[in-house]
């Protein structure tokens, strides 16, 4: 256990160092992402100035939701930015390097890239929670816990989508861009949707666990919803690993053949 944690720590430290190898550019990205998140929220601020109620939600609730999504996505990109490259690695055979090591290939694959703007996302979250979301410092530990769990769910969804390329290589572009779908749905309140869509967002495409449920858990001080988000992180995380392992059996290491007619 100690050695495994040391290994993960070494991977993280190396990739963060690589992410900040050009410190000027990295800090620029980080600051811009922070500003981007805050500027984007102006749209919501303008909306709530005119319509103060969105089916029971106010500006502070949306700020919470936006902050949780920013922290979750930022964490996923800063720690496991390689998740966006999995489909490409499967398709072009660069997974070989990770498979040639005496470890499970997923940690080194996911942590093969650290995206500095992710840290900008993470830093913008407390501003959204504490300033615009009307929360106090006492709420911070729970918000970080829920956002971390949300980050694991988000990373699992993106990983599962990327793994589709093991079976259907033609889906490469779709799998590569699927993370954008996850972000777009996550940053909007989902309680406005009908029961059917909400059910999909709680099961097949579990984006509800990324943003909606964590906000509800905080708003309603509902311990069951907190546990549900943590359980979702464990379950979808495990599911993503199982799907990746199953997919490895179909890995063709860049030798996949397509015959043109």
């Amino acid at each position: 256990m100690h050695q495994a944690l040391g290994y993960l720590g070494a991977l993280l430290a190396t990739n963060l160092k690589a992410g900040f190898a050009k410190p000027g550019a990295a800090v620029f990205q980080l600051v811009l992402m922070c500003l981007n998140n805050l500027v984007f929220f102006i749209v919501w601020a303008l909306y709530f100035d005119r319509f103060p109620d969105l089916r029971g939600w106010g500006r502070a609730d949306v700020a919470l939701l936006y902050g949780i999504t920013a922290f979750a996505f930022g964490l996923a990109m800063a720690v496991g930015g390689g998740v966006r490259d999995v489909a490409r690695a499967i398709n072009d055979g660069s997974l070989d390097v990770h498979l040639g090591r005496p470890r499970h290939p997923l940690p080194s694959l996911l942590m093969s890239r650290s995206i500095p703007s992710g840290i900008g996302d993470m830093l913008s979250a407390p501003v959204l929670w504490l300033w615009l979301g009307d929360r106090g410092l006492a709420d911070l530990p729970l918000l970080v816990l829920l956002s971390t769990a949300a980050g694991i769910v988000m990373m699992s969804i993106i990983l599962i989508a990327q793994c589709a390329v093991f079976w259907w290589p033609a889906l490469l572009r779709l799998a590569e861009q699927f993370w954008e779908v996850v972000i777009i749905i996550s940053v909007y309140p989902q309680h406005v949707f009908g029961a059917g869509i909400r059910l999909v967002l709680l099961t097949l495409l579990p984006i509800a666990f990324v943003s909606q449920l964590p906000v509800e858990a905080i708003r309603e001080a509902d311990a069951m919803k907190v546990l549900a988000v943590i359980a979702a992180a464990i379950l979808y995380g495990a599911l993503a690993v199982v799907i990746f392992d199953r997919g490895l059996r179909h890995y063709a290491s860049g030798n996949r053949l397509v015959v043109n007619r």
Partner: protein, 328 residues
């Protein structure tokens, strides 16, 4: 448990190829055909041997190498590498083999080389002190001491490949599998890399199996060759025997006072000619090379002479031609 470093029996691998039907056919079921990349090959490699895996593009070299590392699972057959079944015990095997894919990097592009090598040592679970000792030794042998603190992005291809080899050898594996190790290198970088590999193999008794299109790699590094084509093993021989059996000629080059000497001997033809320097191709089935030399010394004022084996390229071409002729 086998005493061979690598043992392969009837190893085969097929891939499913789906026919692309384009936009119009996107909802149709695409026909699947099976393409055999490797068709039941067998060989054994003893510890410490340096073996070349030769073949044209698509012959099945890389696929075989990937099965031997556990990256690919074979369709049928059996293999043991360092005593492990690669595709069943991939992680255990990884501690006993070093892998270098010439076109893929283990190093972090923006970081100093030493950072990558230290992380790789952690990946293999090496303690700090043995890792530093190993790093220092490899740096000396591979002449990368001055490169360790430079980012990989600032290295030439030859320098990077030497660092990649250090990465593959950090955990002191007894078996080294190299896929196109000198691809893209210039002549001097190739020569330097080959020298380093030979030195390492001699010092540590490392078994080497390499694939390459460059016959120079094979001639310089290896003592035995496996020739593969269309997934079938055509030949498995020591390099010397390969030459002796498949190309029965030598090249005799004379540097003479005479501008263009001529040798009217049976089985001797001029291969290349420059003023005062003439190369003759000698057919050993028709005339012994000693007689050609003796005649040349008798007739001309010879300042220097050289007897060369034919390039391995010619040997391999001859093997493919004879295999094709047998198939026809």
């Amino acid at each position: 448990m086998s005493s061979e470093a690598i043992l392969v029996e009837n190893l085969a691998k097929s891939f499913c190829a789906r026919r692309a039907l384009g936009f119009a056919g996107m909802f149709k079921k695409r026909p699947v055909t099976e393409v055999a990349a490797v068709r039941g090959i067998s060989f054994a490699i003893r510890p410490g041997e340096r073996v070349a895996f030769i073949g044209p593009n698509g012959a099945g070299k890389s696929t075989t190498l990937k099965m031997l590392t556990g990256i690919l699972t074979p369709s049928s057959g059996h293999a043991r590498v360092a005593g492990f079944v690669p595709w069943e015990e991939r992680q255990k095997l990884a501690r006993r083999i070093g892998i270098l894919f010439g076109q893929r990097s283990q190093l972090w592009y923006h970081l100093p080389v030493s950072d990558s090598l230290r992380l790789i040592a952690r990946i293999y679970g090496l303690e700090r002190h043995p890792a530093e000792t190993r790093l220092a030794r490899l740096a000396k042998t591979l002449a990368i001491e001055d490169l360790l603190e430079r980012p990989v992005s600032q290295l030439s291809l030859g320098q990077r490949l030497r660092c990649e080899i250090a990465a593959a050898l950090m955990h002191a594996p007894p078996i080294l599998l190299l896929d196109e190790p000198t691809i893209g290198l210039d002549v001097s970088a190739k020569a330097s890399l080959r020298d380093h590999l030979i030195e390492l193999s001699a010092e540590e008794g490392t078994t080497i199996l390499l694939t390459s299109h460059d016959t120079g790699d094979i001639e310089r590094i290896c003592e035995r060759a496996l020739v593969i084509d269309q997934g079938l093993l055509l030949l498995d021989q020591p390099l010397a025997a390969l030459r002796a059996q498949h190309l029965r000629h030598r090249v005799v080059t004379l540097m003479t006072e005479e501008e263009s000497p001529a040798l009217d001997l049976p089985g001797v033809v001029v291969a290349t000619r420059e003023p005062h320097r003439t190369s003759f191709a000698v057919d050993l089935d028709r005339i012994p090379v000693e007689r050609v030399i003796a005649t040349a010394l008798e007739r001309f004022a010879v300042k220097d002479l050289a007897i060369e084996n034919p390039p391995l390229d010619d040997v391999i071409r001859a093997i493919y031609q004879s295999a094709a002729a047998r198939a026809a």
